[in-house]
């Protein structure tokens, strides 16, 4: 069974803080993704990575960066958290090709 694990279920951070969201998958998937999930807006892609140290911007990368030093781990970094980054963040992984994505349980981030 594929497991995608996000390090925190809930986080509360202050405006201006640097925030790290961690994601680990255990199925040797090449591709990993970070999405933001907001009501009425669906899932919007922030960044994705198709290999170690390879990353590409998604649809809403502003204010975020990512790191993938090991195949199983993909980190999302908010350099300076702002209140408009309060959201649910979903990590996903998949194999290369026409396959489905597997999701983590999500991290609900609140920036105050």
């Amino acid at each position: 069974d594929v497991k995608v694990t996000q390090s925190s279920r809930y986080l509360v951070k202050r405006t201006g803080e640097k925030v790290f969201l961690e994601c680990v998958q255990d199925m040797d998937h090449e591709n990993m993704f970070w999405y933001r999930q907001d009501p009425g807006l669906g899932l919007r892609l922030i960044y994705f990575s198709y290999d170690v140290k390879m990353k590409e911007k998604g649809d809403i990368p502003e204010g975020y960066s990512v790191s993938r030093e090991k195949k199983e781990r993909f980190s999302l970094i908010l350099e300076s958290a702002s209140t408009n980054q309060t959201s649910m963040y979903l990590c996903a992984s998949k194999t290369t090709g026409y396959t489905e994505a597997f999701f983590g349980q999500g991290t609900r981030l609140t920036v105050v």
Binding site: Y50, M54, Y98
Partner: protein, 112 residues
């Protein structure tokens, strides 16, 4: 642009009624389409994919290339079907990858 449209934010039905969740897409080439479901307090997970042509939990979805649609149907809704449903397609990206691209989602509520 490669895009998925779910025109309904909310669909409310009574138990035993038929359900159809609409999904339209734009994609150049042969699309790979999926329906994902998120039950309350659970992670987002695959419900079905068009290539499998299978029925899962009584749901089916047929790809109609002429109408560029992939509507999700169930003849008799159950209360446990209440959830958020996302239509998605895999779009081509760097490194031979495919990125899951989601619609905005439809919230299905099945009343007793």
């Amino acid at each position: 642009a490669q895009r998925v449209t779910q025109p309904e934010k909310l669909l409310s039905v009574f138990k035993g009624a038929p359900v159809e969740l609409k999904c339209n897409y734009s994609y150049s080439g042969s699309p790979e389409l999926f329906w994902y479901v998120q039950y309350s307090r659970q992670r987002l997970q695959l419900l079905l994919r068009h290539i499998s042509r299978e029925s899962i939990k009584g749901f089916t979805a047929d790809l109609n290339k002429g109408e560029t649609s992939f509507h999700l149907k169930k003849p008799f809704a159950q209360e446990e079907d209440s959830a958020m449903y996302y239509c998605a397609l895999n779009r081509g990206a760097s490194g031979g990858s495919y990125i899951p691209t989601f619609g905005r989602g439809t919230s299905l509520i099945v009343h007793p």
